[in-house]
């Protein structure tokens, strides 16, 4: 915080040289050039530092400790080195349950979100301005719905004894009166989570991709049309390459969001820990930290999740941009 304070005396020097010997004259033009960008960045850096970097560093710090409720009270750290990581990485639960529940689910959720979002964007592009506004308004409702609300709506739709899905399937004679518990099976549990996430996430993709689509010059499509390209070819040869950066952004953001899904799993029946088969990284970390007061272990899970996301993001960026496009 010393920096912006330093520059304040520099301010009068910028004015016409008065008779007062301004103390700031001691700062050379070079120093000012060096200081100015930092002064401008300071508020943002401070906000990021306090709100983002400090908690992040704290979580990493905690992950090297055996930190329980008694440590919380006494304030005494109890370092155990890499023990938390060793325990996690040798735990079959990580490899057979938490990781697939996080990663495989994310593949389907991101795929579903981007495909549906893109299809809606293509639909929106072909609509008249009036209808485009109407449809955009409708899909925005799905986006604006809080995650907690939409999760409860899906739970209600799939309610085992009285839900809409049960009634429909029962009326069609596909399931008996005893019903089927969608929430106890891992596959059906995550099918519902995927529906919830795709439903909640596609409007963002649709609106962003639409913005990209509208920047594609009409001439490109006309030229392709003259060359005899059909709709499928025009989409893959013209549209996709032109707005590749837009796809990169929505895919990376969706991946990050879908890896750290929490409320949509935690609030589902059995998702808060009583059905160990269905926990993903986010919920596992929370349950370990707060329900079992193993803050160190919970932090280590969170750090693993962060590292995984960083790695995936880097791989994505490298795959989606060719080197020269990055520059």
């Amino acid at each position: 915080m010393a920096r912006p304070v330093l520059t304040r005396p520099a301010a009068p020097a910028a004015g016409p040289g008065g008779p007062r010997p301004a103390p700031s004259r001691r700062l050379s033009a070079r120093t000012r050039r060096l200081v100015r960008p930092w002064a401008l960045l300071a508020p943002a850096l401070l906000a990021i530092g306090v709100l983002l970097m400090y908690p992040l560093a704290r979580v990493v710090w905690l992950s090297f400790q055996d930190y329980g409720l008694d440590n919380v009270v006494s304030g005494q750290p109890d370092y155990n080195g890499l023990d938390n990581y060793v325990e996690l990485l040798t735990d079959p639960y990580l490899w057979t349950v938490a990781l697939p529940n996080t990663a495989v689910f994310a593949v389907f959720a991101v795929g579903g979100t981007v495909v549906l979002g893109t299809l809606i964007a293509l639909l929106l592009r072909s609509l008249s301005p009036l209808w485009r506004t109407v449809v955009t308004g409708c899909i925005m409702v799905a986006w604006a719905m809080p995650a907690v609300t939409s999760t409860y709506v899906w739970i209600w739709i799939f309610d085992v004894d009285r839900g809409l899905v049960f009634q429909a399937l029962h009326a069609l004679g596909l399931i008996g009166p005893e019903g089927f518990n969608w929430f106890t099976e891992r596959l059906t549990f995550y099918a519902i989570v995927t529906l919830n996430i795709v439903h909640h996430g596609f409007p963002f993709v649709a609106v962003t991709v639409l913005a990209g689509l509208l920047t594609i010059p009409r001439e490109l499509h006309e030229a392709a049309l003259l060359d005899g390209a059909n709709a499928w070819q025009r989409f893959w040869r013209v549209t996709v390459p032109t707005i590749r950066p837009v796809f990169a952004v929505v895919t990376i953001l969706s991946t990050i969001w879908d890896f750290k899904v929490f409320a949509q799993v935690y609030l589902m029946p059995g998702g808060a820990g009583s059905n160990a088969e269905v926990l993903n990284f986010g919920v596992w970390s929370y349950v370990r930290s707060f329900s079992q007061q193993s803050y160190g272990l919970g932090s280590a899970i969170a750090v693993l999740l962060t590292l995984m996301l960083l790695a995936i993001t880097i791989v994505y960026l490298r795959a989606l941009f060719r080197d020269e496009e990055l520059r």
Binding site: P43, A47, V287, F290
Partner: protein, 425 residues
Amino acid sequence: MGQKRILSATAASTALILALSACAGGDSSGGGERTLDVWIMEGTHPDASAFFDEVAADFEERTGATVNVEFIPWADAHDKFVTAIAGDTMPDVAEVGTTWTPEFAQAGALADITDRVGDTSAYVPGLIEAGTVEDRLYGVPWHAAVRAVLYRTDVFEEHGLEEPRDWEQLREAALTIKDAEEDMIAFPVPGGAEYSLLPFVWGAGGDIAEQGDDGTWTSGIDSPQAREGITFFTDLALKDGLSSTGAATWLETDVQDNFVDGKVAMAISGSWTPKAILEANPDLEGRVAAFPIPGPEGGHSPSFLGGSHLSVFNGSEDQDLAWEYVQLLTSDEYARRWTEETTYLPGKQEQLARYAESEDPLIRPFAVQMSQAGRGVPVTPAYGKVQGQKVLQTMVQSILSGDASVEEASATAAETIEKTLNGDG
């Protein structure tokens, strides 16, 4: 331009710092005046504030200190306590759930009140036991809660049923209801409610865990007796179809919601629930009663004896004052009024005796259950972790969903419980 920008950047960062320091300074309690911060759990009945205003006025008259009561919803309370302990923003006095008391005491957050309380024989023994860690007491029993079976008297009368006296009668009554009432769940077997399972484990002679002389815990959840109880409980759903498919993931609140909707004929339910159920659905007035959970061959099956302690926190600046408030709240007059206004049962033996003689079909069975067959979970700070892991719920859920047999699920549960209680989990 450049000058202006620098100035506004400086101003913005100054403003941010001011805002941050304002946050940090928000907790100061005013100077010389004595103020007591009290946390009371919320979620049992609507207007506790009038009661506490009165107690506060009385307390101010006696001591000159003002009382600041904050109501905390049960669901968030554990996290809020832990956060407060971590951030040193603890109240002076708080209502603490009996299963949390050993945990917070072990962590060093609660004041040792053994010498202040002195003779504890006036209180319900189970609640004293739940508040004791290594022979020191950390909470005064304030009120108690227990579960029994809540049932629909109209359904029972219509089909000529009587209150079951043993497990077989319970099963037969439920089978009769199942055959006669198609739209009703005769006896829900919820997968996410540990306290609905425990009476059957305890009733059959099993136990969650016991501490040996050398201090290590051994879990009895996979003993033949416990397995018999678990099998009876889950077979009500799996073999006899007395529950519903959805109940495999129900919590106690889901059972209650369905009872309110008139979909449930009998259910294990807390002593505090009848009032809430009748408030939510006044049509059920006069059609609901309770009976103590029967034992396998008659008698009663033990049911979890829970409730709340009042605890003084170590962070309190004036523990004598805090203790005075606890004494006032647990004094005969206020304790009686509190239990009357809520539907909780009193934590003192003498007061409880009157309830056991009550004619009210929604009070007496619970009081009988509590005084004759109330039981606690293992009193150790680590038991909070077992609950956090939802070991018993996981066990029941995996049996109900067909993923594991009773033998497999109980063996897994026993292993997890022992690992956690013995501190290597």
